[in-house]
Amino acid sequence: MNNEQHIDLITAYIDGSLTPDQRARFNTLVDEGEIDILQVKEMESLYRQMGKLPDVEPDNKLRDRFYTMLADEQQKQVPPLSAQIVIKQWIEQLQQHLTMQRAIVACGIFAIGMLIGNWMTPFQNYRGELSALSTEVSQMREVMMMSLLDDKSATERLKAVNISTDIQSVDSRITDALFRTLNNDPNVNVRLAAVEALVQHASAPKVREGLVASIQKQESALVQAALADAMLILQERQSIDEFQQLLNEDELDPSIRTKLENTIAALS
């Protein structure tokens, strides 16, 4: 049996890795009987014979198992989303919903168009023009009323008072004109019409005050009766003193006295 002190040389000889120096030394040791070359040859032969043992191959299922495992691992290790990937995914989602977005954009543009159109289109202008036209008509009526109130004909002045009821926006000029008619017009019918016209504008305190003040200025029993009715409608208690003063007048038409007393009683 070879001595283990020469293992380096023997193992190098067996696997064929002897360097020239090692080979020279190996040969010397063989010559000196330190190494039994027959035993080394037997070892080498056995070592080489091992290479003749048949190879073995794994089954294909090993490959299947490996790739299944690898796929599972790859799925588990989804990398965290970077900003770039997030943006990319967002763009992809946008592209996927492009049709929907186009429809939404189209609807948006249509709605904006409608708003702008509604704001700027002739329809609005028509409205403005109509309003301006209405104002113009109202102004024309006012002018007509003013001019007719000064007419000599009672019929024309009566027409003027009636025109005032058609004027939508009544200003102080009209009410002043109507009060002038109520207090100064010689025709009773015209003054009665003026009372009716002014009652329609009695929401204004100035008109109510004017009506109350007008009571003392009326001599016609018909007009006094009309004012008494108006005060009852308006429930104007400030008129009581005015009516009381009328009652104190001896010249008061007896036919109206009872009516005024009833009016005072109703307002008290």
């Binding site: 193992t11 067996i14 056995l46 014979q49 091992m50 043992l53 490959r63 490996f66 790859q74």
Partner: protein, 188 residues
């Protein structure tokens, strides 16, 4: 560095490109299967161990360094896996090959002049199963897997001298086992 070298591929696997492990699997699955099979003589177990090696590569890929030789690294994993299995289950392998140690075909007179090659290989194969595990492993790495003694030392975590001693003793032990098997056969 070759972009498809084992080391480069493993560094890519380490960086997260797990698909590169497929190429390494194709290069090493047969070698590893052969390694495990010559240690265990059990196909199913060998396949399980090969699969286990690649699972461990994925699990411990962060430990791989560019200075490591991949072949040495993967066999170190393979060896540790085999040792772990041995510790857990003992050496209770169900041998695939039907070794009938008591009924080895006797050499005929003709074989004495021209030895029956199949018979000799059969004896060698049986002798391998009886070899000391560490010696057998050293011999397998050297003779079948083609590693140099220095590389085997790296895989088995021992000195190169220790590897040479194991090889020397393994061959002698193998010779002795074959002689005993042959003698037992001749006696019968």
């Amino acid at each position: 560095m070759d972009s498809n070298s084992d080391n480069t591929l493993m560094l890519k696997v380490k960086s997260g490109k797990l698909d590169k492990l497929g190429l390494l699997f194709e290069r090493y699955n047969r070698k590893l299967f052969s390694y495990f099979y010559r240690l265990t003589y059990c196909r199913d177990l060998s396949e399980d161990l090969v699969q286990g090696v690649f699972e461990r590569i994925i699990k411990y890929r962060h430990t791989y360094e560019s200075t490591d030789a991949f072949s040495t690294w993967i066999y170190r994993i393979a060896r540790n896996l085999h040792i772990d299995h041995y510790r857990r289950n003992g050496r209770e392998y169900q041998l695939d090959e039907n070794f009938d140690f008591d009924n080895i075909k006797a050499e005929t007179d003709d074989d004495l002049f021209e030895p029956n090659k199949d018979h000799e290989l059969e004896l060698l194969k049986m002798a391998m199963t009886k070899l000391d595990p560490v010696k057998k492993e050293t011999l397998v790495l050297s003779r079948f897997e083609g590693f140099k003694y220095k590389e085997i030392a790296g895989i088995m975590d021992c000195s190169e001298s220790a590897v040479k001693v194991r090889i020397f003793r393994a061959i002698n032990e193998l010779k002795q086992i074959i002689t005993e098997l042959r003698s037992a056969n001749d006696y019968e």
